[in-house]
């Protein structure tokens, strides 16, 4: 069971080309709520972070509105991401093949997937994006509450708020960098975006990048699992 690499809802459809269900409708809606929140948070946060980006507050209806909206969008992001976390955490647990994959980062970056081990639903890069986002969002909501002046300023000392505002800024920058990696990887590896738009990828994409996942799906291991949806 430990090598089982399939999530509920994953499915293979024979045909030409083969189609593979990767994300359910609920997972995709959950993802896009998170994505939109994160982008809005990055824009409004950067606007208050660097004076030369202050003009971005115009998108939110001015400085005061940006200050009002940013934390609330943060709350949306936190709960939305929590949904993603509980959907995806299990298949993002680190495995030995992930370390092998990481040690061949050169082959990853040059697109020589044939030199890489067979990967389950997520590769080491995706897992690192997943876990770093999980940690960073936890840090961001925690430090964000401390500096949410309107409702929470009375519960902490000014010195604690100073630390929180610095931690918040650093964590946000790291989160934006991780987000760039995430988005760029989805663009660079062609055929990936459809997983999050229509929920499907082609069999060839799965074969090339997540062969273990495809093989597990095809061999129908999910039938052995209680409460699992029939795969084929």
């Amino acid at each position: 069971m430990s090598s089982y690499e399939v999530a509920p809802g994953d499915n293979v459809h024979a045909g030409d080309p083969v189609k593979v269900d990767r994300y359910t409708t609920a997972a995709r809606i959950n993802h896009w709520i998170t994505a939109v929140s994160l982008v809005l948070l990055a824009i409004s946060g950067l606007a208050l972070f660097h004076p030369s980006l202050y003009f971005l507050t115009g998108l939110f209806g001015g400085g005061s509105m940006t200050r009002i909206l940013h934390p609330w969008i943060g709350v949306v992001l936190f709960f939305s991401f929590m949904g993603l976390f509980f959907r995806f955490w299990k298949l993002n647990l680190w495995r030995r093949t992930d370390s092998v994959w990481m040690s061949r980062l050169r082959d990853v970056l040059t697109g020589q997937d044939e030199n890489l081990p067979e990967i389950g639903k997520y590769n080491a890069g995706q897992k690192m994006v997943f876990w770093s986002m999980s940690i960073l969002i936890l840090v961001l909501i925690g430090s964000g509450l401390v500096i949410w002046q309107q409702y929470f300023s009375q519960y902490t000392s000014v010195e604690q708020q100073r630390i929180a505002v610095l931690v918040h800024a650093v964590a946000a920058i790291l989160a934006i960098c991780v987000w760039i990696v995430h988005v760029y990887a989805a663009i660079w590896v062609r055929g990936t975006l459809s997983a999050m738009t229509r929920g499907q990828v082609t069999g060839g994409w799965a074969w090339r990048h997540h062969r273990r996942w495809l093989k597990d799906l095809v061999s129908g291991k999910s039938n052995k699992k209680p409460n699992a949806t029939p795969a084929e």
């Binding site: 293979v12 024979a14 030409d16 080309p17 083969v18 208050l48 972070f49 660097h50 004076p51 202050y54 507050t57 001015g62 400085g63 005061s64 940006t66 200050r67 970056l109 040059t110 697109g111 997937d113 500096i147 002046q149 309107q150 300023s153 000014v158 010195e159 708020q161 100073r162 630390i163 505002v165 610095l166 800024a169 650093v170 920058i173 934006i176 960098c177 760039i180 990696v181 760029y184 663009i187 660079w188 590896v189 062609r190 055929g191 082609t202 069999g203 060839g204 994409w205 799965a206 074969w207 090339r208 495809l214 093989k215 095809v218 061999s219 129908g220 084929e232």
Partner: protein, 313 residues
């Protein structure tokens, strides 16, 4: 007695300083005013204060502020802390002097110190919400304030307060509107003992020297001027009987500076952060240009087909 500032005429007077005299403006790059006006300062002589709170009342009066009715918890401080309406506050300390054995009443008029290097202004993200005039006055511009509370984190003296009503930051203006027409601040005008005097910073330092000499003659051997160098001096200064221990005056900081955390946040982090984001984006762009897209080949699709048909049918 320090010569009092004469009463104003009834004629309208043009303001002596304005936007052309700014030397700092929050979240903005400005060219500081070429010629600096004479620096002004308010000198608060704690040894002369009788704790009458006339300054507090005058501040409310002049600035048209109303404070809520408070609760008596057995101390003279009223209200208990600075608020969005109380921009200046008498803080009472009963000090048991271990050397003389006397009980001393230290009454410090708390409020904005108008730092030469203002932490609030450094922390503020809203362009023009905090400004510093060339005469040294640090002022909040309400229309530009967004209520984020960053000034609270930047201030080494814990002065700004955010209103729960309009969510904007408030603090002492040093009565910039009065000073602009040649008057002293309202608190100074109201003080019955000249514990508060106002003039140019040089005048105030000279006057303080006389006061310190007097105090020393009367046995306060550590009397001195509080004009902390950590913030490049302030435009509100204290004469303290015990200048070696400012903290006994209701927690007046010993050596106030802008917190290194705030300096890091508004310094390194700001530039390194944007550079890191730019570097990641640039790496992505270059990688795509050099490596090209990672495409699925026809052979991949054929392999997938073979796998699916071989095992699932």
């Amino acid at each position: 007695m320090f010569p009092p500032i004469p009463n104003p005429t009834t004629q309208a007077t043009p303001p002596k300083f304005g936007d052309a005299d700014l030397i700092r403006k929050s979240a903005s790059n400005i060219t500081p005013a070429a010629k600096r006006q004479t620096e002004v300062a308010k000198l608060i002589d704690v040894s002369k204060c009788i704790g009458c709170k006339a300054c507090q009342v005058a501040c409310l009066e002049w600035n048209n502020l109303v404070e809520d009715v408070g609760v008596n918890v057995g101390v003279y401080d009223n209200p208990h802390d600075l608020t969005p309406n109380t921009w200046t506050l008498m803080r009472y300390t009963e000090y048991d002097n271990p050397e003389s054995g006397n009980l001393e009443w230290l009454i410090r008029k708390d409020g904005c110190m108008h730092c030469e290097d203002p932490g609030c202004l450094k922390a503020c993200p809203a362009p023009g919400a905090i400004v510093q005039y060339s005469n040294g006055i640090v002022d909040f511009v309400k229309e530009n304030c967004i209520g984020c509370g960053y000034c609270v984190k930047g201030c080494p003296f814990n002065i700004p307060r955010i209103s729960k009503v309009d969510h904007k930051a408030y603090k002492c203006t040093l009565c910039s509107d009065r000073i602009a027409v040649g008057q002293g601040p309202a608190c100074q005008k109201a003080c019955p003992t000249q514990a508060i005097v106002f003039g140019t910073k040089d005048e105030m330092k000279k006057w303080a020297d006389l006061r310190i000499k007097d105090l020393k003659e009367r046995g306060f051997k550590n009397a001195g001027l509080y004009d902390p160098p950590g913030v490049n001096g302030t435009h509100v200064m204290y004469v303290l009987q015990h200048a070696d221990k400012p903290q006994i005056y209701a927690g007046l900081p010993n050596n106030p500076t802008i917190s290194p955390i705030v300096e890091l946040w508004k310094g390194m982090t700001k530039y390194a952060g944007l550079a890191a984001i730019g570097a990641f984006a640039a790496f992505g762009f270059l990688h795509h240009v050099v490596s090209g897209p990672n495409r699925v080949s026809d052979e991949d699709e054929r392999n997938a087909k073979r796998l699916t048909e071989g095992q699932s049918r």
